[in-house]
């Protein structure tokens, strides 16, 4: 199972979130928005400012580049 950071994945490809190496408050925020271990995510758009728009469980979440780089996913 190939592990890759979320800022490296191609667009519109469904991935499974494995972990997020971020500080506790950020982790909770991600989790509250549906971005937790085992969730199915896909990157759908590039954003002004360098971040990406991520689709998870029907929600669209804008994430900064740094956060994306800290999140590890594997092909679903």
């Amino acid at each position: 199972m190939e592990r890759i950071a979320l800022d490296q994945v191609p667009m519109n490809q469904s991935m499974t979130l494995l972990s997020a190496d971020v500080e506790a408050p950020v982790a909770r925020r991600l989790s509250a928005l549906g971005l937790r271990r085992g969730a199915e995510v896909s990157v759908v758009q590039r954003l002004s400012g360098g971040g990406r728009l991520v689709l998870v469980a029907g929600s669209r979440v804008a994430l900064a580049k740094g956060v994306l780089a800290a999140m590890t996913v594997a092909a679903a």
């Binding site: 408050p25 509250a32 928005l33 549906g34 758009q45 360098g50 929600s59 804008a62 900064a64 956060v67």
Partner: protein, 654 residues
């Protein structure tokens, strides 16, 4: 951030507030909870209409609304006391909002807790809306779930069955559409029914204290409920939001769209509001004043100080407050529209990187832009910032945005002293304004809030929706009334105080009370006493100081009061007229022959020192007296230091 020891309780619900927004003491108490963007506020508005008070919960910086939910059924009084808790994803106390929610629901003794908790659950984002429900279900409180956005979910291919969901969650689930007022009666019925019976047994928890395990257990429960209650609706996804976002958050188009929107906001709050404000101003200084004058004359009080007190004091003060009303109303409406439609979240994404460099989130751009029109609504606009510290920082920075009232002084003074270069001088003032915002922001962050984390951008983009005008109007009205009530008193009082000091004769023979001209009044005595402080700035003349004091009350009155102190007619049109000639003379004298640096010093001082009493009143409303005074200290320090620097360095060259 912790709450004071005053325990939050339901008895606090009957605190100060508009009389008709308090339910009777024996009415059941219902708390409204839910994630942000789940339609909670819309539901609250639909249930309470205008019978609402908003304010910070005692001992916290968290804004909580309380209202009266009128029920058609026979409860004890036909009323329910409804409290709108801040939006929260969970009961984990990670922010002041969530901490308050937790305290009010879980940490209080059962007798103090609300009778029922209504949790708004977004059918289009079911899984993440249910985490809060899971935790509330563990607390043993009575719960009713209000299921919103059912049609949005259906458009995305999801059919949510309220009955199945209720069975899975162990509490009643009522599908509602607060915008179209559907399901409200059923919700009322479900809540009243719950009140009449003991709470359902709480959700069983695994035997562990490990946070992660508990969370996993909740997620498993949630996933099972979602599985059970949702099915494919067979409808194709309608992707309006996606399509709009492709433009609005795109790398190059996004900022362009944002600038256009900001320009519109700025235009509306200045251009559209201005005629309304002028009309009100004319109304108060014309017909109303005339009517009162006429009335006083007819009872023989025509030329006395009573006339001055009522017309120049009270009516002028009240008039000033009311002229703000169109501006504030427009601002609140625009804010509500931007937030409701969902655009504000996108704007936060677009401006994030730029604002982050001064330690503010993207959303802070809006209050700062509005501030260039008028600081007063800009202070209120800081409410869109969720984090209290960021809100505070923005509130402290807004006064450094150079408002349009200050512009009137720049233009007049610029024309008198710089002739054709006036335009450049005015432009330079705006650059200085931006510089102050950035620098003061950086300094405050580095000193006071070093620990204020730069939380990385993680923003949920809810689907776009068409704002409901009726609800927008209701919210705007309630906020406007709140502003008028709180800020109004301070402004009126200050205007009357200025009038009072200008009416007290300072030496015998100068005239009776209310009949002196400004130069011989107690006011001038005060101005002259303060003037020496300004020696290093080059503009130490009592007439100038006096204009600054009046400017403390409102910048719009600087020019007219300057004219009054010289006892000349106000300038109309360009050139400055006789006032200009006097000013040139005064500045020559006070600056020892270096008028231009002194003028620049004055303009910068005017830019940076306290905007006006109305802004102070708005600040006090948002962040409290202590921080407002701190802000005043910062403003005077920056103003004075800059003015001295500009003059002392400038006089070496000019």
């Amino acid at each position: 951030m912790s709450l004071e020891h005053r325990a939050p309780s339901r008895s606090t619900l009957s605190c100060h507030g508009a009389a008709d927004a308090i339910a009777s003491a024996d009415a059941p108490v219902v708390a409204l909870a839910g994630t942000p963007n789940a339609g909670k506020s819309t539901l609250f508005n639909a249930l309470t209409g205008l019978r609402v008070t908003t304010g910070n919960w005692p001992g916290t910086t968290v804004e909580v609304s309380r209202g009266v939910w009128r029920t058609p059924r026979e409860s004890a009084s036909g009323e329910i006391a409804l409290i709108d808790l801040p939006g929260a994803y969970s009961l984990d106390p990670m922010s002041p909002d969530e901490e308050l929610t937790r305290n009010l629901l879980v940490s209080v003794p059962r007798a103090e807790a609300p009778d029922v908790v209504v949790v708004t659950v977004d059918a289009a984002h079911l899984a993440r809306s249910l985490y809060l429900v899971a935790q509330v279900r563990e607390s043993g409180l009575r719960v009713v779930v209000a299921l919103t956005m059912v049609d949005v979910a259906r458009n995305q291919g999801l059919d949510v069955d309220a009955g199945e969901l209720a069975a899975a969650l162990g509490c009643p689930v009522v599908a509602i559409d607060p915008r179209r007022r559907r399901g409200i009666d059923e919700l009322t019925g479900a809540v009243l029914q719950q009140v009449a019976q003991p709470p359902a047994s709480p959700r069983a928890l695994p035997e562990t204290t490990d946070e992660l395990e508990l969370a996993d257990d909740r997620f498993a429960w949630i996933d099972a409920a979602v599985q059970r209650a949702t099915s494919d609706s067979g409808q194709a996804r309608v992707n309006w939001s996606d399509r709009i976002d492709r433009v609005v958050t795109a790398p190059t188009l996004g900022p362009l769209v944002f600038l256009v929107v900001m320009w519109l906001v700025f235009q509306i709050t200045t251009t559209v509001a201005a005629p309304l404000q002028d009309a009100l101003d004319t109304f108060f200084s014309g017909p109303v004043s005339d009517a009162v004058s006429g009335g006083l004359t007819s009872v023989g009080l025509g030329e006395t100080w009573v006339h001055g007190l009522l017309v120049d004091g009270l009516i002028a003060g009240v008039g000033m407050v009311l002229t703000f009303a169109p501006l504030m109303a427009l601002m609140f409406v625009l804010l509500a529209l931007l937030e409701d439609s969902g655009y504000l979240a996108r704007a936060a994404v677009v401006t994030d990187r730029m604002m982050r460099s001064i330690g503010l989130p993207g959303k802070a751009f809006l209050p700062l832009v509005v501030g260039f029109g008028c600081n007063v609504p800009a202070i209120s606009a800081t409410r869109i910032l969720g984090d209290a510290r960021q809100r505070l920082l923005t509130v402290l920075l807004v006064p450094f945005t150079s408002c349009s009232a200050r512009l009137t002084v720049y233009v007049m003074v610029g024309t008198v002293f710089f002739g054709r270069a006036a335009g450049t001088v005015v432009f330079a003032m705006y650059l200085v304004s931006i510089l102050f915002v950035v620098l003061v922001g950086l300094v405050l962050r580095k000193t006071l809030w070093r620990s204020m984390g730069t939380e990385p951008l993680v923003i949920d983009l809810p689907p776009y929706q068409v704002p409901t005008l009726r609800l927008t109007a209701a919210v705007a009205w309630s906020r406007l009334a709140d502003f008028l009530r709180r800020a109004g008193g301070v402004i009126v009082l200050t205007v009357m105080l200025v009038w009072l000091f200008q009416s007290i004769p300072a030496q015998p023979g100068a005239g009776g009370f209310g009949e002196v001209d400004v130069e011989h009044s107690a006011y001038a005595v005060g101005a002259k006493a303060i003037t020496p402080v300004f020696e290093p700035t080059g503009f130490a003349a009592w007439q100038t100081t006096s204009a600054l004091i009046v400017g403390f009350v409102a910048k719009e009155t600087v020019i007219s009061s300057w004219s009054q102190t010289y006892a000349v007619a106000e300038p109309d049109g360009s050139g400055g007229g006789e006032l200009g000639a006097r000013l040139i003379q005064t500045f020559h004298e006070s600056s020892g022959g270096h008028p231009l640096p002194a003028v620049l010093a004055l303009l910068v001082f005017l830019l940076a020192y306290t905007p006006c009493v109305a802004t102070l009143a708005a600040q006090r409303r948002e962040v409290g007296l202590k921080w407002t005074l701190f802000g005043v200290a910062v403003q005077f320090t920056v103003a004075y230091a800059s003015a001295v620097l500009i003059f002392q360095v400038g006089r070496l060259f000019w």
